[in-house]
Symmetry: C2
Subunit: 135 residues, 2 copies
């Protein structure tokens, strides 16, 4: 399991991109809307081999990111780990007592299949596991 | 600026180490107490070249981690970026409008000098910059 990206919940993608660009001294390299989660994402590299930073902004009032912003405000939202076989990893984690937020993986940003784990089973950390799909 | 580690606030270091070990499938590689911040830390690798995961537990009731736990509960606490020249980076960030939480760097875990930025100037993300000290 390798740390793949860190998700950061933001209210306004333009403003947050500009702020992170000033902080890191580099520009985002892509934007992508993820329909299944009602969000638009923006990606920054964070150094050679390092996990990416993913800004996540709500596309509308329905999605989980808007609920998160309403409750906790903007900030670090989740840690995502790349796995080789997401189905096997979901099974392993479920059998080990972790609480999965979904029965099957869903399409995420960056051409991946993703599955989230409930923070109450992971010490308050929202964890995503993800697997790259063939191009 | 390269992502160096992700700090995770925890109440009980033994329990959280065991949980993260089950999640990641690997053991922590060291523990270290940081007197200046009244915390004990525990480090996990998160894949080749990836940032480390740092569990941060309060040593007593006085430190900032205990305050964070009281207010927000356990969870992802900060993102730390390695810089080459922390004094120059602090100056650059201050001049660019970021709010530094300290005037001078302080000793952190892992033989580093560290400086924190106030989350209200970084979109709700507690950011640490750090510089390795000569061995």
């Amino acid at each position: 399991m390798k740390l793949e990206h860190i998700g950061i919940a933001v209210a306004n993608l333009d403003e947050s991109e500009a702020l992170l660009q000033r902080l890191l001294g580099r520009a985002p390299y892509k934007r992508e809307t993820v329909e299944s989660q009602s969000v638009t994402t923006s990606f920054f590299t964070a150094g050679d081999g390092a996990a990416k930073l993913e800004l996540v902004a709500p596309e509308d009032q329905r999605g989980p990111i808007q609920k998160y912003l309403d409750k906790r405000g903007p900030g670090i939202h989740h840690l995502a780990f790349e796995v080789e076989d997401i189905m096997a990893e979901m099974r392993r984690l479920r059998e080990d007592g972790f609480e999965l937020l979904q029965e099957v993986p869903t399409p995420g940003a960056d051409n991946k299949l993703v599955c989230f784990l409930h923070p109450r089973s992971t010490g308050g950390v929202l964890v995503e596991i993800c697997q790259s799909r063939p191009e």
